[in-house]
Symmetry: C2
Subunit: 413 residues, 2 copies
């Protein structure tokens, strides 16, 4: 046949994202992404669970969804019913839980069920980058509500809802990460949750509650989920095993009243999410989840301590942040003259990857000197060395911090 | 809080599919879906592979995509490079293979990369239901080309392409399942593939080759893939491990030139497909795939024999079909007065699920008396009993077959 290469370009529809660049590997010092602590993966337990569950019911892999139907493997939904009751106060049954391919598929399913081009939604001003890019691609307007140390500010939310209503705009949802907010790591108090639910009810705007970091608090405590506190059912709740067990497993879930679930389900046209991973999680989590998570968070807290120590050493008072109560990331304010989009590029060239603030915010000016550092994946040594390199790059580019690395570099532990 | 239930209805955008009905389980005699033979799952081998790969590199589960990048686990892509070369004649490298969550995600990614509302594509007149429903939801016009015993008819395709060109319509792709076509089980000859590639080239319309059943031929032989035979790169190739290993694993793949792959990749926003399943497949398949598949197909052929025997007994000459050279389904013609959409409903009420022809065809009249029976999942006994029940229902509803079950029901083996 001919060897003239086929040109696909004229066939591409308008509006496609730019072409991907070839993958060149993770940065040597990687402070990005929801990657977890390799030492925190409960490997022995997962292997034991896998052997048990596959010996017992592995032949069910011949049937889509293990013949448990489109909501997914029933024992994992049963585990979630009890886990959500115990940890988040949620009362639901197994038919109100849909197992999905990570909470990212949950975002897509909820969005496709509720949103049309031109719609408006409310989000936290600083929020998950992937939520913002999804909304932008869908042509949906995201109104950002600023946060304080207690999460989304209810006074600003009330004003925004009133202003939108005056313009005859009914937002499709209020998206919030109330428990270990991404990227600020704030936890919304129970009192503020009551206020949020009241505003949701008053304006007829449902709440989209993303709880994917909620398991990772240092003291193991958390307020009840908004889903649990709502008497009206006007909340959609999503969660994940990515942060508590392992992100590469790609298992998340949606909790929603059947009225809405039954509209979402036909949009999940993938013949089910990976069943092997659902089986292993169910078998492992039912007996081990409550002992595993505190072990995991002890390790995460230790890495956070290393990160804070390194930032104090290398950046001094130049880097401002709150000490988070949980999670895998730190949200940092640098001096106003630091442009973290530029810092991101320069740091990457030096082998250090960071999340620049503007990618995680609807307010590019406010977030322009802020950044997110994820601390779960790098080792303690990588954290120390990476922060030292980042400080060097930052001083080279922006003149701050004025002095860094003026202390002896700690030896490897 | 209030107990007035929140009403989501006013928030739903137009065009959503109808609400799902609650899951009520598989039919007692289930002849639908790509479910496989439970005895054909290589369970011991998968368990062994899982233990090996997790002991060796399980901590990588802490990192999205196991740090192998967005194309997926490298050893599985390496296996596919050699497997596709050996079985399908495809020469590609690991960067031209994207691992996805079953070939259904492959369909979505290809569609979203190439299609816009109002576009036209060419499909086989009888084809995979899920492809037709996807196109309908996207608002894309599917032109069906009839098949004969050698697959898609090239004379009709040539005429359709000419006619579309005369109307200034350039179809976005020609979708074909050339090797064990779904639902007709035909295999397109190498000569016809050459003709198809020439038409594709002449009209500048790429080929979308769905090869997900291609491993399952009784004699282990198959023509080279269209992807392999094209000199121009104007072919997108997708495949799956669902049929050769286990459908509940949800691992498929796309092979495409990087020019197109780089446009598809940004649309895969799920942070990777399930890594555990990719690890297990790579570890199992590299040493065992070539011995496993012939064992699997022997079992499938035996079930097909049982199905054909049962049809001959129960339907006699009322049921017409070709003896397929591979796969997991039989495409059957009943007398013209049989409406398989009605038969489907009546059979389901009797505990027998079938795929009515009109759901698998662009020509509702031609397919109205046809149906698809999948034979991999039910046991030999279920096949015999289910076909007998189906014949009873069909006679009750449509008067044919005139006599059935006039032979002694075979005893359980």
């Amino acid at each position: 046949m001919t060897t003239t290469p086929f040109d696909f370009t004229p066939l591409l529809p308008p509006g496609l994202p730019p072409a991907a660049a070839p993958w060149t590997g993770l940065a040597a010092y990687s402070f990005v992404g929801g990657n977890n602590d390799p030492d925190g993966v409960p490997l022995d337990g997962l292997i034991e669970a896998m052997n048990t569950v596959l010996r017992r019911e592995g032949r069910a892999l011949a049937t889509y969804n293990l013949a448990h139907g489109p909501l997914g493997y029933r024992p994992l939904r049963d585990f979630l019913v009890s886990k959500l009751k115990r940890d988040a106060g949620i009362t639901c049954n197994a038919d109100e839980i849909l197992l999905v391919s990570g909470s990212l598929q949950a975002l897509d399913l909820v969005n496709h069920t509720l949103l049309a081009r031109g719609d408006t939604v409310i989000v936290e001003q600083e929020t998950y980058q992937g939520s913002l890019t999804r909304l932008a691609r869908l042509g949906v307007h995201a109104v950002g509500i600023p946060l304080d140390e207690g999460g989304m500010r209810m006074d600003v939310l009330a004003a925004a809802l009133a202003e939108l209503k005056a313009r005859n705009i009914r937002p499709k949802y209020i998206y919030t990460i109330p428990t270990v907010q991404n990227p600020t790591a704030t936890i919304m108090s129970e009192q503020r949750r009551i206020e949020l639910l009241k505003l949701s009810q008053d304006y007829g705007v449902p709440i989209f509650e993303d709880d994917c970091y909620a398991d990772l608090t240092w003291d193991g405590k958390r307020p009840p989920a908004l889903y649990a506190m709502s008497g009206s059912g006007g909340v959609i709740h999503i969660g994940s095993f990515s942060k508590s067990i392992a992100p590469a497993l790609r298992v998340g879930f949606i909790v929603a009243p059947w009225e809405l679930m039954s509209r979402m389900l036909p949009l999940k046209t993938d013949a089910g999410s990976g069943s092997l991973e659902q089986m292993v999680l169910a078998e492992y989590c039912a007996p081990h989840f409550t002992t595993h998570v505190p072990e995991l968070t002890r390790g995460l807290r230790a890495k956070l301590d290393t990160l804070i120590e390194a930032l104090n050493e290398q950046f001094g008072t130049t880097a401002e942040f709150e000490d988070p109560k949980g999670g895998i990331f730190l949200w940092i304010k640098l001096p106003d003259n630091v442009d973290t989009m530029k810092l991101y590029q320069a740091a990457l060239a030096a082998g250090v990857s960071i999340n620049p603030g503007p990618e995680w915010s609807t307010d590019k000016a406010y977030s322009g000197s802020r950044l997110r550092l994820c601390f779960a994946s790098p080792s303690h040594d990588q954290i120390r060395e990476g922060v030292a390199k980042l400080a060097e790059v930052c001083r080279d580019q922006f003149g701050v911090p004025e002095r860094s690395a003026n202390v002896t570099r700690p030896a490897a532990p």
